[in-house]
């Protein structure tokens, strides 16, 4: 779609018109405008209507269709410079955007944390079960060792070892000496005199 604009300022000579192609509506409009500018076009009511970024002054469509002038091609060179255009940023919308992104990020973070702890829990459960199994094994081994100790400490076994293998004998009463008792007077002084042995 051709873009019509105020060519009179930049092209004082007027636009170049091609005559070897079929006239399009736009070209027709431009041609007619040119004719009017030159004073050739019949006086018709004109209107302004926007076309693209500019405005085109032309005649209404109904009267335009009544006549079919010669086509004039118009070739325009477009040079657009938007460097001076600055998008207007609305602070409220920007703030909302940031808020939405933050919230979304937070939710995503929570979801990730939930997933992480869920699978970490399962992993730790496996490890816990492994450790429990090792604990059970250790307890079993401990029980077996205690049983072995109890068997080795059997008084009859020790007696047999002492008498048969080591040649030991039970001592005579005369061979056993008692260590000194506490002084009897001290004992008597400390203890209450027992009467009738009442417990």
């Amino acid at each position: 779609m051709a873009t019509a604009y105020r060519w009179s300022e930049e092209f004082p000579q007027g636009p170049k018109v091609r005559t070897d192609v079929a006239e399009t509506a736009t070209r027709r409009t431009v041609r007619r405008f040119q004719q009017r500018m030159n004073g050739d076009a019949p006086s018709e009511p004109t209107v302004e209507f926007p076309v693209g970024r500019g405005r085109v002054i032309g005649r209404p469509v109904a009267s335009a269709r009544a006549k079919k002038p010669l086509m004039t091609e118009v070739y325009t060179i477009k040079k657009i410079d938007n460097s001076r255009l600055v998008r207007h940023v609305e602070p409220v919308k920007l703030r909302n955007l940031y808020r939405t992104v933050a919230l979304g990020g937070l939710i995503a973070l929570c979801l990730m944390a939930y997933a992480y702890q869920h699978f970490r829990c399962i992993d730790l459960s496996f490890q816990l079960e492994d450790i429990k199994a090792k604990q059970v094994q250790a307890q079993q081994a401990n029980g077996e060792l205690k049983l072995e100790i109890a068997t080795l400490r059997d008084p009859r076994r020790i007696d047999v070892i002492a008498q048969r293998e080591l040649g030991l004998k039970r001592p005579d009463a005369a061979q056993v000496r008692e260590y000194a008792n506490p002084d009897g007077s001290e004992m008597a002084a400390l203890q209450a005199v027992r009467i009738n042995r009442v417990p």
């Binding site: 399962i122 079960e129 004998k169 005369a174 009897g184 008597a188 009738n196 417990p199």
Partner: protein
């Protein structure tokens, strides 16, 4: 045109993508929203498993926390017959490890059951071997097995368990509910490989550990000496009980025959009977203690009082009763020391049947003692209204009444501790982990009941010492300690004739030591010792001596009399069964019936073990102590006696009131510092003879 083609393709692609996404998300929505409950249930069935936990049976310890019974996990083999592919091969391989014939294994594997035990509670080597076979359909399951590491020690006390760990007999049965603990089911989560990852914890109680009053070493000594005397006299049975008279705690309870609870299925019921609490016997002369104690407590007799023993024969209600010796005039002390039946009958007649019956019940006879062991007998005591005219005479001699060894030793303990009858008990405490549980009502130590007054008990202790010093119990005299006791030789009823057998007797001795502060009461009862003499003095009294002399040092009981001069006979007999092949497994009791040991001078190196060396007799007097001579306290007041004892360094024990009339040790005895001296106070005896 090209653009239109591109446009169309894009539209098609978009349409396909939309269709695919619609299909997928639609399916997801369908599964999540409409089929959620079904799949959730499937997941639960797949992942959740219920495991039944059987708690390990609690252990049984002696009073010093030495393990007497404990459970250890072992593997049991079972099969799922439907999963076994090659039954023949499996049978052959398994029979080797299980120790069962291959046909038997094959029959189990070919059965139509979904689960069949191959063998329960395998040894570790067998279970490892079966596991290494890796046979399909053969699995191992962990169970607990009960072990008794001391083998047959205290077997009647401990009891045993069956294959399912149910207690049968002894403590295992009595406290089965507590020792077993409570089984429970927990839910665990498993992954696709059946590996647990979220197991629950067992919440219910584990089995309770039971701590007994039994001392392992005292128990061993009692069992060893019992086995020795049973072997020596070829007796079929016997019992030894060692009790703490000051609390009723049983330190040892030994029966013969005994059994190994690790293999109870190989033992007959007869061997598993706890004779000490279940078997009734007529106590014989030991029951005279009750007769005399009752009479003393009623102040009907005095120890110096003289009775006419009718030259060894008396007629009561038309029955002629003979003494074992023809005694004439005897004091009460001598009646007990010489065990005169006639004298005892006369004392009982003075007491009278009602009072006598009352004291018999007060000493605990005719009713269970309440010991925390199963199958206790209450004994045999006729009700007073069923006593005949002759019953008082019979009962005074220890006949026509049936007692258990435990009842007898408990009654003697009452005399030893000053007249209090304690309930015998064998459970000291119960623990769950480190926590001590309160004892149940039946096992808690009950308040003692008074059987006789303390003065009566003091008199009886002195008289019982006389039995050992110059009576029928001389063989029970201890080296280094005072002791008191009573012999008993009770005739058994011959089942063929229904009358008393002249040959079969129950030889017993019951005593305590030391006299002044008894630490142990010991009863020895031997059933039907062979040979002659076979009375309590010959058979049972020496066993009391051997046991007491070994366990009193173990209990740190200081000697209260100097050692008597010893005849040290340096003869050395070789041990009968000593061979090179003897191993620790061969623990026959005959090996421990060795004669008294020799001194170090006469024992030489290993050659002495096998060659008998006969050396001349050597007499050596060993005076171990006693630099204080006990004064004569007779007629003195309490203040004077106390002051005198404190000055000399003696520990006085005063019984009664008024003036001193008796003392123990006797005046003039050489004792050591700190020796306890019992002085009995009362009215000074009137010197007048009175006999019947």
């Amino acid at each position: 045109m090209e653009q239109e083609k591109v446009h169309v393709r894009l539209l098609i692609l978009t349409g396909v993508a939309l269709f695919w996404m619609t299909a997928v998300f639609g399916r997801v929505a369908y599964l999540q929203l409409f089929r959620h409950s079904d799949y959730y249930a499937k997941a639960v069935r797949q992942q959740r498993r219920t495991i039944e936990i059987t708690p390990k049976r609690g252990a049984i310890y002696d009073r010093n926390m030495q393990a007497l019974a404990m459970s250890v996990p072992v593997q049991s083999a079972f099969a799922v017959p439907s999963e076994v592919k090659d039954v023949g091969m499996a049978s052959r391989l398994l029979s080797r490890e299980l120790g069962t014939p291959p046909e038997e294994v094959r029959a189990k594997l070919e059965s139509g059951a979904s689960f069949v035990w191959l063998k329960r509670k395998l040894p570790p080597a067998s279970s490892d071997a079966i596991q290494s076979l890796n046979l399909k359909g053969i699995y191992l399951l962990e169970e607990n097995q009960r072990f008794y590491p001391k083998r047959d020690m205290a077997s009647h006390v401990l009891g045993f368990v069956d294959v399912d760990e149910h207690g049968l007999g002894g403590i295992e049965h009595e406290y089965d509910n507590l020792i077993r603990g409570q089984g429970e089911k927990i839910v665990v989560m498993t992954d696709a490989r059946q590996k647990q990852f979220d197991g629950g914890e067992a919440q219910h109680d584990r089995g309770v550990n039971v701590v007994l009053t039994i001392d392992e070493k005292i128990q061993y000594v009692a069992e060893r000496e019992l086995a020795a005397v049973v072997a020596k006299f070829h007796a079929p049975a016997g019992s030894v009980i060692v009790q703490d008279p000051n609390s009723g705690a049983i330190l040892a309870l030994a029966n013969w025959p005994k059994y190994n609870p690790n293999a109870p299925q190989e033992v007959t019921t007869d061997k598993r009977t706890d004779r000490a609490i279940s078997e009734i016997y007529e106590p014989g002369s030991t029951f005279k203690l009750v007769t005399l104690a009752a009479a003393f407590d009623q102040n009907l007799i005095r120890s110096e009082e003289v009775f006419n023993c009718e030259n060894g024969a008396v007629t009561v209600a038309g029955h002629l009763i003979h003494d074992h010796k023809k005694y004439g005039m005897l004091t009460v002390a001598d009646i007990l020391a010489n065990s005169s039946d006639v004298g005892a009958i006369k004392i009982a007649l003075r007491l009278g049947s009602p009072k006598f019956y009352e004291y018999i019940r007060a000493f605990g006879f005719g009713s269970p003692t309440g010991v925390d062991l199963p199958a206790e007998s209450r004994g045999l005591l006729r009700r007073l209204d069923h006593w005949g005219s002759y019953s008082i005479a019979s009962v005074s001699m220890g006949q026509e009444v049936g007692v258990t060894p435990l009842q007898m030793v408990t009654a003697v303990s009452a005399v030893a501790n000053g007249g209090l009858l304690y309930r015998p008990h064998i459970v000291h405490e119960m623990r769950r982990g480190d926590q001590i549980l309160p004892l149940e009502a039946q096992s808690a130590v009950a308040e003692p009941k008074r059987a006789v007054r303390p003065e009566t008990a003091a008199i009886m202790r002195r008289l019982m010492e006389g039995v050992i010093l110059h009576g029928t119990g001389k063989n029970a005299r201890l080296d280094g300690w005072t002791a008191g006791g009573k012999t008993g030789t009770a005739q058994k009823i011959d089942p063929e004739t229904g009358r008393y057998s002249p040959t079969n007797v129950i030889a017993s001795f019951t005593g305590f030591a030391p006299i002044n502060n008894p630490a142990v009461t010991i009863l020895v009862s031997i059933d039907s010792p062979a040979g002659y003499p076979h009375d309590g003095a010959t058979v049972a009294a020496p066993v009391f001596k051997r046991i007491a002399e070994q366990i009193l040092p173990h209990l740190d009981v200081p000697r209260d009399v100097p050692l008597s001069p010893q005849l040290i006979q340096a003869s050395y007999r070789p041990k009968k069964n000593e061979t090179q092949d003897d191993s620790l497994d061969d623990l026959t009791p005959v090996d421990f019936s060795a004669p008294p040991d020799t001194t170090e001078e006469n024992a030489s190196a290993p050659a002495a073990k096998t060659t008998p060396v006969k050396m001349p007799e050597v007499m050596m007097a060993v005076n171990e102590g006693g630099d204080i001579q006990v004064p004569d306290f007779k007629g003195k007041t309490m203040r004077e006696v106390t002051a005198s004892c404190m000055r000399l360094g003696l520990d006085p024990i005063l019984v009664g009131t008024r003036l001193a009339i008796q003392q123990m040790p006797a005046a003039g005895t050489k004792v050591r510092r700190g020796t306890k001296v019992t002085v009995e106070f009362g009215d000074m005896p009137v010197r007048s003879g009175k006999s019947k």
